[in-house]
């Protein structure tokens, strides 16, 4: 693949980076990313990956745009209220960068469909709002040997880790989903909109680093920040050899749908 003049111009600020260059940009252009959840995290992730030229972006979300989303889900605009989120997101991606191939999946990821969903993609992004989905994405990616970025936000806090095969997974840290109502949900607890942007752009940067193969991914570490104090901390993680999914003798060998626990929004999910 060689870049067209238009592409050289569009991606010039990437290309002049020593760690990207034409070679890195070509890798990004060939990249296939699946974003699960087109909400607070998925919105900035999709915008930045589209602008960066990630060749194929898949978006999974079964919801419609709601007025309460607009405070943070910056890919959806006021006239989009009532529109499927995947369609709203696709329209913006195409306007930012017409070269991107966008695949839309207007349904929830489930134990039944997730293996097929992730199959054709190089990197998966968890932008979901509930533990059932977070554990499902983790387990499916570990089993399929797919790298993925985990992200979670609440109130003024955010945390993220990147999993690549053979390294610590989400379940190495959090063994199983918390019981329903044990952890405050986002609609109960709230979230500062900009937190979604902070964490989502970290996840987008990790995705681009994955493709260019430079730097150190958030592998075997959990990045945690609190925006009230504006403090960041890195917690070093080790893969747990007794992990129920990525350990030496995994007890979880099939995908299951946990009861949806968090972030019920008007009972839509």
């Amino acid at each position: 693949m060689s870049l067209t003049d238009e592409q050289l111009e569009r991606y010039s600020r990437h290309i002049i980076l020593k760690d990207v260059g034409i070679e890195g940009q070509e890798k990004i252009l060939n990249g296939k990313v699946l974003i699960i959840g087109a909400g607070g995290l998925g919105a900035p992730i999709a915008l930045y990956l589209a602008a960066a030229g990630v060749g194929t972006i898949g978006i999974v979300d079964g919801d419609l745009v709601d007025r309460t989303n607009l405070q943070r889900q910056v890919i959806h605009f006021t006239p989009d209220i009532g529109k499927p989120k995947v369609i709203s997101a696709k329209e913006k991606i195409k306007e930012i960068n017409p070269d991107i191939k966008v695949n839309t999946y207007q349904y929830l990821a489930s134990a039944e469909n997730i293996s097929d969903l992730i199959k054709g993609y190089d990197f998966i992004i968890d932008g979901t709002d509930n533990f059932a989905a977070k554990f499902l994405i983790n387990d499916a990616c570990v089993m399929a040997g797919k790298p993925f970025s985990h992200g979670g936000i609440l109130r003024f806090d955010g945390q993220t880790l990147t999993h690549t095969p053979g390294n610590a997974c989400y379940r190495c840290v959090f063994k199983e989903p918390p019981p329903k109502d044990a952890v405050p949900t986002c609609s109960q607890a709230g979230v500062l909109g900009a937190i979604a942007g902070m964490l989502g752009t970290i996840q987008a940067a990790e995705t681009l680093k994955f493709f260019i193969g430079k730097g150190e991914l958030l592998v075997n570490r959990l990045l945690i920040f609190n925006a009230l104090d504006m403090t960041f901390r890195n917690v070093t993680l080790k893969r747990d050899l007794n992990c129920p999914v990525c350990g030496q003798k995994p007890s979880i060998t099939a995908l299951t749908d946990y009861e949806q626990a968090a972030c019920d929004l008007k009972g839509q999910r």
Binding site: D63, G127, D129, G152, D157, F174, D240
Partner: protein, 69 residues
């Protein structure tokens, strides 16, 4: 003794267990927190029997469920 809690040192007189440290730090739902002590995760059942020693490094990791909402 000094214990590094979530990257910041805290001082304690005498013995303290993981459970007591969680209480002292006003951790809202101690049953929902993952605790990493000197790089190893402590089983929840062992929170009250695990005593900390000087210069231990401990991290509290919480479930953050949001993202899409």
């Amino acid at each position: 003794m000094k214990i590094k809690v979530n990257n910041e040192y805290q001082e304690f007189d005498g013995e303290i267990t993981v459970s007591e440290l969680l209480t002292k730090n006003n951790v809202e739902m101690p049953d929902m927190v993952s605790v990493q002590l000197n790089g190893e995760f402590v089983k929840r059942d062992n929170f009250s029997s695990t005593s900390l020693t000087d210069q231990d490094e401990i991290n509290f990791l919480y479930f953050l469920g949001g993202g899409n909402f």
